[in-house]
């Protein structure tokens, strides 16, 4: 099975008046066909920036300053804006933006907004478009009469289903979901995760699932990529992360700080300190100032190394594991 996405040494900086904020600072990862990659990290670690970067639409003043993003065999970094619009965005890769459910236009019906997106990208008549919309509605578990409703008539969970359907109906190879369940209630959250899992099984689409919550990731991601301060700390398969304690101290601490409902603990763990300022990140390992097991070698930046098949870690302590 080939890789549908290959990202190499991607650097995406925000070029502010104070200097470059190195939000994504040289990351490598790949995504296999049909796989779901979970991207986890604290706020400001660059996880959303990666998602936006993969559509080549970073929020200004963000700019891709280096690296390549190969999606389905084409490097999209050198492409023109016109080519991106015509062939890449939504046809090959689409995204459910953070809070997208609140970005539906209140003045048009859901059906009309969806129709517009479809017809922008593909030549089709009304009846054809309606049929596609209905098909995707049933895939995400929405009744077809929703097309005539306005966004304010829908609940949060329904709106989230609408934007997921909109990300899928042009049959992209890759879908990026950025915190799709964060603002939702627990039960609705579980329902949306079920929808995501069901779509993965039925459509075989590759996904990148971005969230700050390791517990959510346990439900959907085949592999987990943990980010810290613009760098990849660890990439490991789901089972390894949740069963056999991961290797990077940051992943370990993050997992320990994730509360479990069915485990009795007296004290929850936390990570002292705060993530570094990315205008001027610390030399060497970026986690070192907060790391409880830091050593002399950590003054040098650790490379991301495959310590066993499918398990990559950027930590000097994990070299001989």
């Amino acid at each position: 099975m080939g890789n549908v996405v290959e990202v190499r040494d991607l650097k995406l900086h925000y070029l502010t008046s104070k200097g470059a904020v190195r939000a994504v600072d040289g990351i490598d990862f790949s995504l296999a066909t049909g796989e779901t990659l979970g991207v986890v990290g604290e706020s400001g670690c660059g996880k959303t920036t990666i998602g936006l970067g993969m559509l080549r639409m970073p929020t200004p003043p963000g700019r891709i300053v280096g690296g390549s993003i190969v999606i389905d065999g084409t490097d999209i970094v050198p492409l023109s804006e016109n080519q991106l619009r015509r062939t890449v965005r939504w046809q090959t890769i689409s995204m459910v933006f953070q809070g997208a459910m609140n970005c539906l236009t209140p003045v048009f019906t859901v059906g009309k907004q969806m129709m517009e997106t479809l017809q922008q990208h593909k030549e089709m008549d009304r009846a054809e478009a309606e049929e596609i919309i209905c098909r995707y509605f049933s895939l995400v578990g929405l009744p077809p009469d929703i097309v005539r409703r306005y966004p304010h008539e829908l609940s949060g969970g329904m709106k989230q289903r609408v934007v997921i359907a909109m990300a899928l109906f042009l049959e992209p190879k890759v879908v990026i979901l950025d915190e799709p369940t964060t603002a939702l209630d627990v039960i609705v959250q579980a329902q949306i995760l079920n929808v995501v899992k069901d779509l993965k099984r039925r459509l075989g689409v590759s996904m990148i699932f971005i969230t700050h919550d390791l517990a959510t990731e346990a439900e959907v991601a085949d592999r987990i990529m943990v980010m810290y301060a613009g760098k990849v700390a660890e990439i490991a398969p789901n089972r390894l992360v949740y069963d056999r304690a991961p290797c990077h101290p940051y992943t370990q601490r993050l997992l320990a700080a994730t509360p479990r409902l069915h485990a009795k603990v007296d004290e929850l763990a936390f990570i002292p300190g705060a993530p570094p300022d990315l205008l001027d990140p610390p030399k060497g390992c970026r986690f070192q100032p907060r790391c409880s097991v830091a050593m002399d070698a950590c003054a040098q930046e650790p490379p991301l190394i495959e310590i066993e098949p499918g398990h990559l870690v950027a930590c000097w302590r994990c070299r001989n594991a």
Binding site: E42, S43, S155, G157, M158, D185, V186, I187, V188, Q189, A190, Q191, L193, N194, K197, D198, K200, R201, H212, D213, L214, A215, T216, E217, A218, E219, V220, A221, D222, N238, R239, V241, Y242, D243, R253, L254, L255, A257, T258, P259, R260, L261, H262, K264, V265, D266, E267, L268, A269, F270, I271, P272, A274
Partner: protein, 339 residues
Amino acid sequence: MPEPSATNEVILQAKDLKKWFPVRRRLRQAIKGERRWVRAVDGVSFSVRRGEIFGLIGESGCGKTTTGKLVMKLLDPTSGRLDFEGADATGLDKEAVIAYRRKVQMIFQDPYASMNPRFKIRDVLEEPLLIHGIGKSRQEREDLVTQALAAVKLTPVSDFMGRFPHMLSGGQRQRAATARTLILSPDLLVADEPVSMIDLSTRAEILAMMKELQRQFGLTYLYITHDLSTARYFTDRIAVMYLGRIVELGSPDDVVDHPVHPYTRALIAAVCEPVSGQVDVIKQLPIKGEIPSAADIPPGCRFHPRCVFATKECSELPEPELETVGEGHQAACRRWKEI
């Protein structure tokens, strides 16, 4: 669980508390004299003991924040009664409310919005002292501010006093917000989702600090949240709310490990756990449909349209009240023995 710090003295008691908000009427309805209400809080009774952490849990729209606002006297109840330290606190006049708020303080959800951006941290903390006329001289107030900041471990204190809120991280702001409430030495703190906007890695740190302060100053908390996982760790008792009513009440162990009410069961089944073996497993959720509007509450048991165990009785008989299902464990379900 830590040693039970709660006493038997009831500090706050709510009896059949209701808050209904009127819905704007159309002309035709107004002529017919029809009135519609959003029943945000619809008959809530509970008592909080001095020194305990009482958790109010539920999904958005269940009335947990409205209940918190009623306790804070930011809203007046439509009906029902609120007792604080044995005295009626329902219909207080303006001056009595100010005196009441000296003893009952609130930590808000959003630490970015709950502080005046033009105030330095020193001013943010000094403001409640000025309002309540505490501290005769500037120096005296400054000392109190210093103590409060030290209590929440914003040290070195002199460093933080002169900073503006935007210069603090989310966690630090929530510490400052906590210091602002502590400065009045309150008895009861209403904490409405105090950690939901804080990064996961520091969330536990804030909760640990709040727990430490509780032990140190003998505080009582009303902890309002949607997050069962932190509530289990943080609280002494949990009340689960659904559509304006408490449906289950008990110790965190009882409620989480042996839930009785079908809604609590669904809520617990839906929580994500950071454990393996869940990928691609479609979760069976024992609940139907979506939450109804609080303006249109179903008759009978208000949970019956979504309940997988509901019978005809559940929709026809009057609403079930909380009944004892175990020691210190109550649930509002008619069929709890059978299901």
